[in-house]
Structure formats: structure tokens, C-alpha cells
């Protein structure tokens, strides 16, 4: 084991190259692996008395969560906890007990030469094509891919959300069809969000150049890196806005990023990820706005609980064995 690297690994100061070098070596040798675990454990134990956590307020939060199911009580801690909860805007949560599983890519080669890829609800899959093009597919998305050798085109048809890293080939351009629009890559990394039922199709260009082509085949807009084109299905208008970088990468890292979004839109995302149906009984709630980051590796009930901490709404869940559960918000 390279001991000089070890100290940097433990303090978290090693760079990517050093990490790779260290961990690869470690895998080669059982004795040094053993030693690494021992020293890591020693490192962990030696700092046990460090403490900068406010345990009292943590206890208040706990009490609040324990009491919640049993309606309101006059318990004084409850009051304080609610005040505390109300100021939480930035919510990070996790539920280790959640039962869903992430699934792998479901890949099929159809006879027609169309390659079908889909990502099940609650999972992110990655598709790599022979030409080096890589596509991340968000939960509940589908991508059909075919090569038109006559017309010298690569055509991908997207339903849902995908992040594309296209291996550019001027001789063999790459097109993505999403709803009513078509995106032509000119050497590109981009993200397209086109879920059926959404009012817009969003194309965000990270790198390179891309054209958005309208139904008639005319090049409607040329995007520059950092641009996000929002296409409104209803009036077929396109609006260009700057990308919110954080949001783009977050879904690939398994997070929901909520930036001043309406509850209705947030719930749409939640229902895609957890495969649940969400209905509003109280229409006013739809327009409530939130900001925060939520890790997806939790249960839908947990997300609801967290959102509930800052707003007054209730929900009930109707479990359906054969179909998605229905969550009613009121």
C-alpha cells in the first residue's frame, strides 16, 4: 500500500488520479486491503469525541416526526419543532428502508433495425451506441434508435428525458425527435426533457452546437452552450433561457432539484420516479412553490412528509396491488 497516499485518502485531499492509483493497487493485495480497513476504522474511531451537532433540536425534530400521525397534541416540543421545520427550505432526505429497486437497462434489438431502450420508473439507465454516443435515460423514458444508411442519418426518438453525449460525425448527423420538434446535433452534449403530458419540451445545450428544427424541416433556432430552449406545445413558440446547470446534472445523480417550482410540477416528477399517481383534491395547493433538493433514494411517502413540513396539506394513499398507488392530496 502506498502510505503517502493513504493519509491524503483519509483526509479526503487526494485528487482523482491519486484515488484511482490508490484503489487500484489496493484491490491487488489482500493484506494491504485488510490494513486499509483497519486504519480507516482507526481513523473513524479516533475522532469520536468531536461534536458540533445540536442534539436538542435533533430531538425536537424526532419528536415532531413521532407525534405527527397522532394529530395535534399540546406537547410543547412539538410547537418548537414546527417552527424549526418551517424554516427548512433546503431539504435533504433519505429513507434507507425504501423498497424499490433500481433496474438495469432493458435493451432489445428489433428486426426493423430499430433499437429500443427504456428506463423503468424509478431508475436511470445508460445506453451506449456503437459509434460512441452515450445517452442517459431518466425514469420512465424511452428511446428508439435507428440508422438510416441511405439518407446518412442517425435518428433517435425520445419520449421522456434524456441526456445525450453525441459522437459527432459530419457525414452521419444525429437527429433526436421529441414530440413536435427535432434536434440536430452539430457536435454536442445536450439534455432533452419531453415527457408526454408536459406542456413544454426543454432542450438544454451543454456543449457544442445544436439546431432545433420545427415540424416543417426548417431550422428554427440554433442553440449556444448554456442555452435552454423551451418549446410550448400549445402555441408552438420557442423561448430561450439560460440553463440551470444544477438541475441538469441532478437527475443523473439521483436527485430532484426543485427551484421555485409549483407543487403540481414537483408531484409530476415524483410520480414519474416512484410510479405513483397523484391527485389534487384541493386545487389551490397546485400553485404552492418550493425550493430544495431531495435525494431520490427515499420513499415517496418520505418526500411527501418533508414537503408537508413546510406547508399545510394532507394526503392519503390508496394502495393498489396491480396498478400504481394513488396519493390524494388535500
Amino acid at each position: 500500500m502506498k502510505f503517502d497516499l493513504l493519509s491524503r485518502i483519509l483526509t479526503g485531499e487526494a485528487n482523482a488520479e491519486e484515488k484511482e492509483q490508490f484503489y487500484l493497487k489496493l484491490g491487488d493485495n489482500k493484506a494491504s486491503e485488510q490494513m486499509f480497513y483497519e486504519i480507516k476504522s482507526l481513523w473513524l474511531r479516533s475522532s469520536l469525541h468531536k461534536n458540533n451537532i445540536d442534539i436538542d433540536s435533533e430531538f425536537d425534530i424526532l419528536c415532531n416526526r413521532i407525534i405527527q400521525p397522532a394529530k395535534q397534541s399540546s406537547y410543547p416540543i412539538w410547537k418548537r419543532a414546527v417552527q424549526y421545520a418551517a424554516i427548512i427550505l433546503f431539504v435533504l432526505i433519505i429513507g434507507g428502508l425504501s423498497g424499490y429497486l433500481l433496474s438495469n437497462i432493458n435493451q432489445k434489438y428489433a428486426d426493423s433495425g430499430v433499437q429500443k431502450n427504456s428506463s423503468l420508473k424509478g431508475s436511470v439507465s445508460i445506453v451506449e451506441f456503437g459509434d460512441g454516443t452515450k445517452v442517459w435515460l431518466n425514469s420512465g423514458s424511452q428511446l428508439n434508435y435507428s440508422e438510416d444508411h441511405k439518407g446518412k442519418k442517425r435518428i433517435a426518438e425520445l419520449t421522456g428525458e434524456g441526456y445525450f453525449e453525441v459522437a459527432h460525425d459530419a457525414e452521419f448527423p444525429f437527429f433526436v425527435k421529441a414530440g413536435n420538434i427535432m434536434i440536430r446535433d452539430l457536435g454536442t452534449t445536450f439534455n432533452i426533457k419531453a415527457y408526454p403530458g408536459d406542456k413544454t419540451i426543454e432542450t438544454s445545450l451543454v456543449e457544442g452546437k445544436a439546431d432545433i428544427i420545427s415540424g416543417k424541416g426548417n431550422s428554427a433556432v440554433t442553440l449556444k452552450p448554456g442555452d435552454c430552449a423551451i418549446y410550448y406545445n400549445e402555441n408552438k413558440r420557442i423561448e430561450i433561457k439560460p440553463i440551470v446547470e444544477n438541475v441538469l446534472s441532478a437527475w443523473r445523480d439521483g436527485k430532484f432539484v426543485i427551484r421555485d417550482q409549483r407543487l403540481e410540477d414537483i408531484f409530476k416528477e415524483i410520480s414519474r420516479w416512484y410510479d405513483v399517481e397523484i391527485r389534487f383534491e384541493n386545487q389551490k395547493l397546485k400553485d404552492y412553490r418550493y425550493t430544495g433538493i431531495i435525494k431520490k433514494s427515499t420513499t415517496s411517502q418520505h418526500v411527501l412528509k418533508m414537503l408537508k413540513l413546510t406547508t399545510k396539506f394532507n394526503y392519503r394513499i390508496i394502495e393498489k396491488p396491480a396498478e400504481p398507488d394513488v396519493i390524494i392530496v388535500y
Partner: protein, 192 residues
């Protein structure tokens, strides 16, 4: 050593609060070390206490709370690490390797982790017995949470020297505390 059991707990909120105060910190420390995310770590520990509260009446009066909480937190952290590994499946090889070692080292961590009071004395003693320079560097790194660079500046040493001291301190501690470290059964796993 005092063994907290559930018959003492038995719905009494004060007792529950005591238990919370006693174990929150070490459990949080444990999850933070492995998850490296404060909010997520707090949540894991909160979950464990909620679970404890929910099943307080069903638990055997002789149950060892310490081990119960430790096991819950450990398993939840392992689940999270596993899930992160899956999410990283197709990219970022380095992160994946890192995660693999995090997972393995946590899953091999003995439940004696929670017997920290005893262990703490042993560790403190071993640290006090380190050669002067090693001790100072180790303490600054571990307890003041200074970066190697910052320690180097503070003590007017080169960064290399700081790292050498740190490494030496670890080597000595490992030998001094040999019998208190977990015996980790290694299962060879191929990283794919």
C-alpha cells in the same frame, strides 16, 4: 458497563430523550464518516430512533439498545452506499471504487464501535504516547480538521513532511491499538 435495556424505556419520554442524547452523536459520527453528507446522516439516525420508538413495546426487555441502533444505522448506511453504487454503475469508475471500499469497510466494522467510551480512553492514551511531531500533526488533522496544507503552514513544515507524520502516526496507532481494531473478514469482490 451499563447496558441500556428497553424495560427502562417503556414509553417514558424522558428515558427516550436520555437514550437519544447518549447515542445520537456516535451514530451520527458513524454515518457521516461513511455517507459524507450531514443531512443524509442525520436522517439515517433519525430513522433509527423512529424505528426504535415504533417498536418500543414489542422489543424484548433485555434487548441491547446500543447494538440495535448501531445495526439499524449501519444497515441503512449500507443500503444508501449500495444504491449510490448502482446509480454510478456506468460512469465514474473512481467514485465507484471509492464507494466499494466505503461499503466494505463499513460492512466489516464490528458492533464494538459503540463501546466508544472505553475505546476512547485507549485511543487518547495511544495518541498521547505518539512522538511529539506526529501527535501534533495527528491532532490538528483529526480534531481541528485542518487540511494537510494548513497544517504545513501552521507548523512551517512542508506538506510532504506533514503527510509523513500523519502516516507515521497511523502506523504506530495501528500497532498500539491492534487488539481493539475490528477483525474484518474480507470477501473478495471483483469490481466490474
Amino acid at each position: 458497563m451499563f447496558e441500556p435495556t428497553l424495560n427502562l424505556l417503556d414509553c417514558k419520554r424522558d428515558r427516550f430523550r436520555d437514550i437519544f442524547h447518549e447515542y445520537f452523536q456516535p451514530l451520527f459520527h458513524l454515518s457521516l464518516h461513511y455517507l459524507e453528507d450531514e443531512d443524509e446522516s442525520k436522517e439515517v439516525v433519525q430513522e433509527a430512533f423512529i424505528r426504535l420508538w415504533e417498536i418500543r413495546q414489542e422489543l424484548n426487555p433485555d434487548s441491547n439498545l446500543r447494538n440495535f441502533l448501531f445495526t439499524l444505522v449501519k444497515n441503512n448506511c449500507l443500503n444508501i452506499l449500495k444504491r449510490r453504487q448502482i446509480l454510478l454503475k456506468h460512469h465514474e469508475r473512481i467514485k465507484r471504487m471509492e464507494m466499494h471500499y466505503q461499503f466494505e469497510s463499513l460492512s466489516g466494522l464490528g458492533d464494538d464501535y459503540m463501546e466508544f467510551k472505553e475505546l476512547r480512553e485507549k485511543i487518547d492514551l495511544a495518541i498521547q504516547n505518539l512522538p511529539e511531531h506526529c501527535r501534533v500533526v495527528f491532532e490538528l488533522s483529526r480534531f481541528e480538521e485542518l487540511k494537510n496544507r494548513e497544517i504545513a503552514d501552521k507548523l512551517c513544515l512542508s506538506q510532504k513532511t506533514v503527510e509523513a507524520h500523519l502516516t507515521r502516526a497511523l502506523k504506530i496507532l495501528r500497532i498500539d491499538l491492534k487488539e481493539y481494531l475490528p477483525i474484518i473478514a474480507l470477501i473478495a469482490k471483483i469490481l466490474n
